[in-house]
Amino acid sequence: MTATLLLQSALVGITNGFVYALVGLGIAVVFRGTRIINAMQGEFALIGGMVAYIALERAGASMPLALVGGVLAGGLLGLLVEMLLVRPTRRRGGSEESYLLLTLGIAFAISAAVLLLLGRDSHPLPGIGGDGSQIVFDAAIRVHALWLMLISAVGMVLLWFFYHRTRVGLSMTAASIDAEGASTIGINVSLMRTLTFLLGGLIGGLAGVLVGPLITVHYEMGLMLTLKGFAAAILGGLTNPFGAIVGGLTLGLVESLAVLTLSSGYKDVIAMTILIAIMILLPNGMLGRRGRRGG
């Protein structure tokens, strides 16, 4: 095994890791704000990718506009899902299972709707900054992958500021830690839950427009993204959105380095085995923060 090959795999792993981190970040944000495991986080990415694709290829929009459109579409979907479906379920006293099944059902519906709209074909999105590559110490990395890392990193920093420095972000945290207490000091808890889904949708949409050029937009892409995102979020401890970043990068790296020694078909087996092992052995994630279940 040469050093170049190792570096090449590491670069692929980090690129994938950022994608897993973004999806995991969305799952962690939604879980932190609503205590719901969102099994349709990957579908936010699907819708984001699809809208960007339609805007670029069919409506002839410019690249930045298409990207923003994709991100906003994810957010809008999050908003609609919360107001039209999650809220009625909550009113009827939803249990953990019913939210899981509800979001799974929505994931099916969206996947089926995209199949109807776009058909069975894969639709590649053009990469940001063209489809060229950059050479890093003999190893090649796509220019798009560099943009992906940069944009995700900026998004993550912005999210940190949102949670720690803005009134809405702090209110969201308060509402999730102690709903009753938050409402006594005038925080609209139900609005915060809606905003949580909006935020989760925006992050999912961003993941979609960024991953589109790598894995193409395809009606079945959502479920696997969701699962890898789960693995990332759980590695990071689930309630800590920024743990998902560490989790995603770890997962991406381990996956791509493991492929060097095993057949590439086993990539998902490795990722899923890690997921199960971490849940059993490190119940609070790698960062060891307490309270996977609590605030």
Partner: protein
Amino acid sequence: MGRSPGAGPLAWIAAAALLAAWAGAPLVASRSVVDILVFTGLYTIAGLGVTFLLGQCGIVSLAQSVFYGIGAYASAYCTTHYGWPAPAGFGAGMGVSALIALAVGWPVLRLSGYFLALATLALAIIGHVLFTEWDWLTGGTLGIGGIRALAPFGFQLNSPQRFYYFVWPIAGLLLWLHYNLLHSRTGFAMHAMRDAPAAAQVLGVDTHALKVKIFVLSAVLGALAGSLFAHYVTFVSVDSFGVDRAINFLLLAVLGGAKTIVGAVLGALFITVMPHVLSQFGDVHAVLFAVCLIAAVIFLPEGFGGALQRALRRTPAER
């Protein structure tokens, strides 16, 4: 629970009518409809395992497709490759499933709630990848063909009608055993574990061992259904054992009503008949199916079985 609702003459007439409808269905229905009803029977058996785990132990299992696959491949491989008789294939499938369920269930069932659900989903993915990669055993995407039809006592079960009269009595028998188990000492221990885990432990119920036992039982049911499936369609490939199948089995349990006995049947009817009914609307049928599903989750949290039970219980009171 326990008291069968309204056990008057009306109930007997209803039961007799149901039985007549069941027995007469293959005589009047078209071949494709009977084919669907055979699948309803197969899914009832596999889904019963999931229903049991969810309704009696509160365990969300998305791994049933793995055991369904193991059963199907065991039957396919043993009968075509080794030329073993069919019962040996059934035995191999159920045996291997039980062992894997024991080995995997022991550590994984320490988890609970969402995390257990995710772990079982991860198992379903691992299973599907291994079914694809181990093509020396499973034939990969090409699959294994030429599996003989079952022939109990020399009677060839080579048409949907014949298989229908074979699979449903098995399903019925399993439902009856399920009912008996629920009303046994173990059944009460399971209820206690589901509703008050701490109290059950104090009373000396080894909850972890009990969960593992039920998980193994559920896996055996999945393998049995898988073996029957392999002999029915005579061809198996990885497409039948994907994550979507696992999700279908869970939906079956939830939609049917995991806490009721008839839930598995009602859920299986929904997931097999509904897509067929909706397919006349053309390409949107998948969307419509998912919408039905969302509606059922929101409006019938107890499932069809729960709704039916409530309706039956209400009728005598209104008289």
